[in-house]
């Protein structure tokens, strides 16, 4: 691999003749780093699968307290879903701009990625606060404990992602499009898209199936 190899988009790297079978020695960092980060993301999904499993087991253990149909507001969830999806899309645009070393557009798109992620987080926190106010906090029942663990864990990931987006905006600004900075940006985009995938499972299983008549 030459030093001029184009930075990759997402998990894909520049075209190479190598079949990945290792007959030319170790792969370049632009392949190994996103692969290693992909393994982290997948193990994160395994973590979430355990939380989904406990939620599915405990969703009816409400201890006489509020049930899913009384707590969830589909309109709010639709707005949250839209905000996170648009954020994920704009993150892709940021990577496209970064690949072309366009500082201004990279920063603009990263800013809007973070902004829509922030909108998502604010709506989610409003929902949590509203639930705790009406006495439907995590201590109320096993169902609510597992709900706050599952959705809160996703929210914590989004919060970490927002901090990471801010960090990357500063690093791109200060250090420019060095290869290691671009690799970090790629890992950030993989992380952000993966969070949206987990949210698809959450809004389907928790919010939509949970509020079926």
């Amino acid at each position: 691999m030459s030093a001029t190899e184009a930075p990759a988009v997402g998990l894909t790297h520049g075209a190479s003749e190598d079949t990945g079978l290792g007959n030319r020695g170790p792969q370049s960092k632009s392949i190994v780093v996103p692969y290693g980060f992909w393994l982290f993301v997948l193990s994160d999904m395994v973590l979430f699968s355990a939380l989904f499993a406990s939620y599915a087991s405990l969703v009816h253990a409400t201890d006489g307290g509020p049930v899913t149909n009384q707590l969830f507001d589909r309109t709010k969830v639709a707005i949250e879903t839209l905000a996170l999806l648009v954020s994920s899309f704009i993150c892709g645009l940021a990577i496209i701009a970064a690949k072309r070393k366009n500082l201004l557009w990279t920063e603009i798109w990263l800013f809007f990625t973070g902004l829509f992620g922030f909108v998502f987080l604010v709506i989610e926190l409003t929902e949590f606060v509203g639930m705790v106010r009406i006495g439907a906090g995590p201590q109320r029942s096993a169902f609510l404990s597992s709900f706050f663990t599952l959705v809160g864990c996703h929210g914590a990931h989004v919060t970490a992602g927002l901090l990471w987006i801010g960090t990357m905006m500063a690093q791109v600004w200060a250090k420019g499009f060095e290869p290691h900075i671009v690799r970090r940006l790629l890992c950030l985009s993989i992380f952000w898209h993966a969070l949206d995938i987990i949210w698809v499972a959450i809004f389907t299983i928790v919010y939509l199936i949970g509020t079926l008549p």
Partner: protein
């Protein structure tokens, strides 16, 4: 960019692109499909036109389809030779996720049945957290 540009037509969504236009189009297509599937999910969940017991299964299918859209158009997972490791890792991850989720739900659903529970125990809505 004309429609006959091979860069636009011959490149799979996950393949590396060189053209700004085709890369952006890939993301726009992904966004459109994801929006469509999300919209259908919310419609399916709120309509009364469909057979009730099948709605939950349909929602799960729609969610899996949307995850596929995200993987292909946003994360650029392809079947190309340079993506073999990513796909294998994904396959292993999916296997573990399904084993954990289906295994847990299966065991927890049958646990109560095999324990010979008292009537109070079977009433999950009264269980203390």
């Amino acid at each position: 960019m004309s429609d006959r540009d091979p860069e636009l037509t011959n490149v799979a969504p996950g393949e590396p692109h060189d053209s700004l236009m085709s890369e952006t189009i890939s993301y726009v297509v992904g966004l459109g499909l994801a929006l469509l599937l999300t919209g259908v999910s919310f419609w399916v969940a709120s309509t009364s036109a469909l057979w009730g017991p099948g709605v939950a299964v349909g929602l799960v299918v729609l969610a899996i389809a949307q995850m596929g859209v995200h993987l292909v158009f946003f994360l650029h997972i392809t079947s190309g030779p340079d993506n073999t490791n990513n796909v294998l890792a994904l396959a292993f991850g999916v296997l573990i996720v399904f084993v954990v989720m289906i295994g847990t739900i299966w065991i927890m659903a049958h646990l109560a049945a095999n324990m010979g529970p008292t009537p109070e125990m079977t009433n999950l809505t009264m269980q203390r957290g």
